[in-house]
Every structure is written in structure tokens, then in C-alpha cells.
Symmetry: C2
Subunit: 459 residues, 2 copies
């Protein structure tokens, strides 16, 4: 967290990516399928997806018309939700069918979730029977559950097997998952009892019993668990894969680190955007009208709280009329309160998300925030008192704004920590709803303290 990290030197890869993009667009414009193929073919699926997201819709359509043979399942998985439907619609049926057939079931589910009914049907029909059943079963789990996130392709072994038996089985197996990191040991009723890392399997003699080399730390999740909780345990316990069980404890699938990372990433993004009042805006490709709607909700709430604050000012209209300097200075108090409140609130929201702030240490954290608020309140109270006294030549005005600053910053610290905690207690996402409440408190307290003190002490 030091300063060295702040610099962001120009990255060569960025320049390269920009050049490549220009070359691709030129090839598209010239209708030069061969050059386009030569440019796209060596790229990683994730980079192709990024490229498709970067360009405008018309260019995207033209590109996909010229080049779609290389579009595989991985690229479809990587493409952002907001343009995936458009891409799928632009592709010939057989390309989509082939692309989804090569994917693990969890990736097919991920793609299907965000599509309209007809597009969903088109993809389900393209799947082999077994896969279609697996996907439909996954879709029967609630949205944002472990069941939606898991892949059903698992690598299991009976708990009495040896390393040699496991290796022989793996060599004979016709279809294994693309990525797997453990052999899961199951009892005769398919209940997982432990797992062995592939590294241990590889480095142990053939005769060693698998049950003797299982990992110390082993945990499973239920298919109905929330994906956010699953991501939390991956992060907390540094896991790379986790077996998923049904209500009876039987193995039904496995979640791997890549899926958990995507969920964590989304949670982070959501918390950050929600705190700034940006809702349901998943990417830069979202349409204007949707983005405007999502943000209008928060601006509307903010308008109400701003009007509430103005009602407080209105109570002191006569005071302001008698001394216009108050109108000049009052936004400073409110602005400092708002910023200090946001600081406390952000720390609180983040600590609640990482589960570092709990009922146990709440009292200590609240005391800390009050102390921080009081210290900074005193500091900026003194500074502002001097500024105001000098600016308007009224020492008493300095005292008024100084006192108001202390009161406002302490109440900002308090509301910044207590409001998120209260929302969490009532089962409301603190990232989503804390902002307007905290701002209301700091504005109302700020204006009331400053104008109230002024009306008593100055007039």
C-alpha cells in the first residue's frame, strides 16, 4: 500500500493490442477475410472477446460476417453478457452448436442464464442428450447458487483405492474435465470423504492408499449455497476446487477456482459501483437508456435527501438574510461532513464484506471511528475557524464554523459506521443503501449545527 504502486507506466501490450485492433478493423473494412483470419487466429479467447467488446456494434457485425469459423465455446464464455446475445444471433447455427458442445456444463449454464428464451432453446437443442439434461438440472438450482456455478464433470475414486488404481482409471477414462486439481474420494453412497491433490497422487508410489494422502483441510458446499458464500470460502481457505453436494450429502459436482474468481470479481465490482449509486450496469456496452435508468434511482433518492437538507437551511432563511457569509461558508461544512462520512462508510462496507467487522469488535471499531472523526474535526475546525475569521473579519464566525466542523465530522464518523452495520443487521446490502442515509445525516447535522450555532452566537 505504498506510493510505488501508484505509477502506471505505459504497457507495451496495450500499445500492441491497440495496433492489432486497428489492423483488424482495416481488414474488416477491406472485406479481407484472409488477413482477418491471420490476425484473429493466434489470439487467446479472452483477447478475442475483449476485441469484440471494444468495437462498435456495426463493426462487430461486419467482423463476425467475415470471420466466425474460429468462434469457439471459450470465446462465447468470455464475451460480456451485454453483447453475447448479439454475437450469438450473428453466428450461423452450426457454429453456435459446435461451440457450446465443447464446453463444460457450468460454462453452458453461464451462457444460457443471460439469454432470451428462443436463444436458450437454440443452444439446448444443439447439446448432446446427456449434456442437455445436465444443463437443465443445473438451471433448476436457484440463480446465484453453487449449483449454477459447478461443473458436473467430476473425477472421483472409491475411498479404498490406491494411487496405482487411480492412475490406471485416469488413463482409461474417455472423457475427463479440461481442468481438475483433485481426485475426490467417495463412499459407496457417493458421499465425498476427502480429496487428494494431483501432486500427491503423482509423487506417491502406486501401492499407497489414497486415503493416506488426503488433504488435512477438506470442505464441501451445498448446491443451494449462495455463490457469494462459496467465493468467500475459496478466498478464505485458499482453495482451488471444492466438491458440491446435494441435500443428502451426495456429490453432484465440483466448483473450481476460475469460477470462484469470477464471482469474487463481480462482488467487488458490485460493491464499488453500488456504493457510488450505479446499479445494474454491468459493462460499458450497456445501452444509454438502461444506464441512465439505473443511475436515476440513486439520483432520485439523493434529490430527496438534498431537499431535506434544504428544508433545514430554509429554517434559517432569516439568519442567512442577515449575514450572507453564512451561505458562502455552509457548503464547506456539508462537503467536509459528506467526505468524512464516505470515508468511514467505505471502510465499514468493505470490512463487512470481508467479514472483518463483526458484532464482537464493533464497539472497538466504533470507538476508533469516533476518535478519528474527532481528531480530524478538531484539525479542520481550527483551520476553517482561522480561514473564516480572516476572510470575513468576524472572529465569532470562525468559532461558529470551527465548532460546527467538529460536530459534523464526529456525526459523520458515527453514521458512517453505524448505518452500514444496521443495514447489514436487517439483511439489506450495506453497499447498496448506506450512501443516501449517511449523506442525509451529514448534510442535516452540518447545516443545522452551522446555521443553528450562527443564529444563537452571531445574531
Amino acid at each position: 500500500m505504498s506510493d510505488e504502486r501508484e505509477e502506471r507506466p505505459e504497457r507495451d501490450e496495450d500499445a500492441e493490442a491497440a495496433e492489432r485492433l486497428e489492423a483488424v478493423l482495416q481488414a474488416v473494412e477491406a472485406g479481407d477475410a484472409a488477413s482477418l483470419e491471420a490476425l484473429m487466429e493466434p489470439l487467446h479467447a479472452a483477447d478475442i472477446a475483449d476485441l469484440l467488446e471494444q468495437i462498435g456494434s456495426a463493426d462487430r457485425q461486419a467482423l463476425l460476417k467475415l470471420w466466425h469459423a474460429g468462434i469457439d465455446g471459450e470465446i462465447l464464455s468470455e464475451i460480456d453478457d451485454s453483447i453475447r446475445e448479439e454475437v450469438i444471433e450473428a453466428l450461423p447455427d452450426e457454429v453456435v452448436a459446435e461451440a457450446v458442445r465443447e464446453l463444460e456444463t457450468d460454462d453452458v449454464v453461464d451462457i444460457l442464464e443471460d439469454l432470451d428464451e428462443p436463444a436458450q432453446e437454440r443452444i439446448l437443442e444443439a447439446l448432446e442428450d446427456a449434456d442437455r439434461v445436465a444443463v437443465e438440472q443445473a438451471l433448476s438450482y436457484p440463480e446465484y447458487s453453487a449449483g449454477r456455478l459447478m461443473q458436473r464433470e467430476v473425477v472421483v475414486a472409491p475411498e479404498h483405492w490406491t494411487v496405482g488404481e487411480a492412475i490406471d482409471y485416469l488413463r482409461r477414462a474417455e472423457r475427463l474435465p479440461d481442468q481438475f486439481y483433485h481426485v475426490i474420494l467417495v463412499d459407496p453412497r457417493m458421499k465425498p470423504v476427502g480429496y487428494v491433490t494431483l501432486g500427491r497422487v503423482l509423487s506417491s508410489a502406486r501401492k499407497v492408499a489414497l486415503r493416506d494422502i488426503t488433504e488435512d483441510s477438506f470442505r464441501t458446499v451445498e448446491a443451494t449455497d449462495e455463490e457469494a458464500d462459496v467465493a468467500y470460502i475459496f478466498n478464505q481457505y485458499h482453495m482451488i476446487s471444492c466438491p458440491v453436494v446435494d441435500a443428502d450429502g451426495r456429490l453432484v459436482g465440483v466448483i473450481t477456482i476460475d469460477d470462484a474468481m469470477i464471482v469474487l470479481d463481480e462482488e467487488h465490482e458490485e460493491d464499488m459501483l453500488r456504493m457510488a449509486g450505479v446499479h445494474d450496469e454491468s459493462s460499458l456496452s450497456d445501452r444509454v437508456i438502461e444506464a441512465a435508468k439505473g443511475r436515476a434511482v440513486w439520483l432520485g433518492v439523493n434529490l430527496l435527501t438534498a431537499i431535506l437538507a434544504s428544508l433545514v437551511i430554509d429554517m434559517f432563511a432569516d439568519t442567512i438574510g442577515a449575514m450572507v457569509a453564512l451561505a458562502v461558508l455552509m457548503p464547506i461544512v456539508a462537503s467536509m461532513g459528506g467526505n468524512a462520512g464516505t470515508q468511514s462508510m467505505t471502510v465499514a462496507v468493505r470490512s463487512l464484506a470481508t467479514r472483518d467487522l463483526t458484532p464482537r469488535n464493533a464497539a472497538r471499531v466504533i470507538r476508533r471511528e469516533i476518535a478519528v472523526g474527532a481528531l480530524n474535526g478538531l484539525l479542520f475546525g481550527v483551520v476553517m475557524a482561522a480561514v473564516a475569521a480572516f476572510w470575513f473579519g468576524v472572529p465569532m464566525l470562525g468559532l461558529v464554523i470551527g465548532l460546527a466542523m467538529v460536530l459534523t465530522l464526529v456525526s459523520a464518523a458515527l453514521s458512517g459506521i453505524l448505518i452500514p452495520m444496521a443495514l447489514e443487521r436487517f439483511g439489506i446490502d450495506p453497499a447498496l443503501a448506506s450512501g443516501p442515509f449517511v449523506t442525509t445525516v451529514t448534510d442535516v447535522v452540518g447545516f443545522f449545527a452551522f446555521l443553528g450555532l450562527a443564529s444563537v452566537m452571531l445574531l
Copy 2:
């Protein structure tokens, strides 16, 4: 990103953890070492670290006095920087020595980085010679570089080996890394040429050549690369391990997904806290005076911008004196502008961090933001015009605030996107510095537009 995700039901584990914590504290208070041991022993290292972070310093000291035999390297790794030094100082030398000796070198480096000189010495002395050299070499790489992040324990094979040779080698190997996911193929000069997943090794016949089953996608990073860039490629390409090479392209270590996840997590946290003006505050355990200092920087900057905005108001003191309603309404315009600016800015900062916003699509994104700002400006301009006209009975005042709202929200959208992009271009972290600039623009434009229009149209 739908509403279902917002609910946060009470988690059973949270209740369990709280009960456990109470039991632990009771045992500590009673000086009951046996009960304490029974409570701590079954816990995962990450949970023990959390427990130590949750309690106050006095309780922590008392706990560590009663129970330290179970403190191992993993627990030391998991403990937050802010209390790690305190914990290490509370432990007997031999416990610390044994704990660090069992760790991979990257974890030792991670612990050492944040310690004072004498504590660093104490740990370096406890290491075996080979490990100490490895740790000292790692510390010679710049802070926040891949060289600091990597472990030097690697699993390599000559490129001509078969699966059988690799398995025989792994079975004979005396010390393998705790976790490894690939066998890295190297040429005679130790340059990595590809890697094979353990799953492929296990599922292939002994006579298969390793070079025939390498992964299609293979990339390495340089030891001097920034850790943020390393974390980005792990996330972008869904990697689980990545070989690290020196300037000559020779293999010097490997970075695994768990290290990359920690970096990603820290980057997210930093961006979120920095945007709210919270600097260098790594955890709730930080001391009051440090936290207050870190936040005072931002509050100081904010005070300057707030004073700047007040100077604008002061220009119109006569106008306000003639019509106090302006003082009542003006914070509404500024508040709406600030919020809309923060929305655009957050989207921009996030998109820059994920590299979704590039020079290529900048024009499109800027147009989109302006459109969103204009739409919401019109919406809330009309609403506020009606409210103001009705409230103060002056229709012209409604027109003034409506127009000011449109101007402010469009300029908020523009500054919210342009300022982060400009900062990024100049190599300054947009998360760190955008806020004050955006707020200054929205405040100044808001007050100037509203009071300026009022002085022209109303008086």
C-alpha cells in the same frame, strides 16, 4: 446483478464463529490452557488468524501467552500485516523459527516485507542456509514485483522427458512444493518452453512425450514485472500457475493462483478505499492516529476545493442577499452534480482498472456518458423546476434551477469520464486522484450555473 443477490441472510457459520470466540475469551480469562488448546486446535489457520484480529490487543497477548505451540507458518502468513509484528514479538523464538522454516520462500518474503529490521533478522537467522539465500534474493527484487510474489520451489522436467520419466522423478523427489499444478518443461539453458497440467500427466500413458501434451496457451512473466500486471494476466487468461523468468529468459520461480488472488483482492480494496479518500489504511486494526492522518490528506484537499466553490458563491453574495431562496436551493444543484460525477467516475475508474476502457472505445464511452448525463439532467431538471416553482412561488426560479441542473449533470458526466482518463494518461492512479478534481468541477459549475443564471434571469 439482479435483486436476488442483495439479501444477506444470517449465516450459521457467523453465529458459530461468534460463540467460539466467546468460549476462547472465557478460557483465556480463566487461564485455562487445556480448554483453549481444545478450542483452537481444530481451527483452520485462516480462522485462527481472523480470531486473533478480532480481539483486542490485551486479550491477544493473554491468549498467545497461554497458547502458542499451535502457531505455525500458515497462521503467521494469514495474520494481517497490522498485527503481525505484535504477534511475532509475543511468541518465543523457537516457535517463530519453526513456523517460518516450514513455509515456502514466497510466504517468508511476504511476512518479512512488513517487519522492522530486528524482527527481520530474527526470522532470517532461523532459516536454513539455502532458504535464507532464496529469501534474500527475493527481497532484492523491487517491491510489488513478480520476483517478490513467486516461490522459488519449481517442478521442472527436461523437454525430452516422457510421462513415465516425470512420474518417476516426482516419486523420487525429496522436497516438492506444497501445491503445484504443472510440470514446467525447460530447455538445457533452463528456459521454459511449455507446461503440462498434472491432470494430463496422470491421464497419459507412461511412454507419451511430455512435449506432446503441453497446454496450448503458455505464457511467462518476468521477475521485474509489476504484481498488478501479473494478477491481471491470471484473471484474464484463467491461469492457475505461471513460470517466472529472469531478464535472460531463464526460469527462476513460479507464481500460483493463491498469490495472484491476494494481489487482486488488495488491488480491489485499494481502488475502493482510494476512491473514498482512505489512504494507507490496511485494516481495522490500524491505529487511530495513522487512520486519521491517512484520511486527513483527502479531507485537506477537499477543504481546498470546497473553499474554491465558496469563492464562486461569494461572487454572487449580493444576488443571494437579494433572494435568500437561492441559498436554500443551491446545495441541491451541487449535491446532484457531485453524485452524478461520482457515478461516471466510478464506472470510468473501474473500466480503466479492468482495461475495458481504452483509447479505442473512449469516444464511444464519452458520448454515452454525456447522453446519460443529459437524460438525467433533463429528468431532474424538470422535477426540480416544479419543486422550486411551487415551493417559493416563483416560476422563473424553477426555470433557473432546471437549466442549472442540466448544465451541472452534463458537466459532471464529462468530468467524471475525462478526468480519470487524463490521470491514467499521465501515469497517475485515477482511483487516487479523480475524486477531488471531479467534485471541484461539479461544485464550481453547479454554483456558477445556478447563481449566474439567477443573477441574469431573476434580478
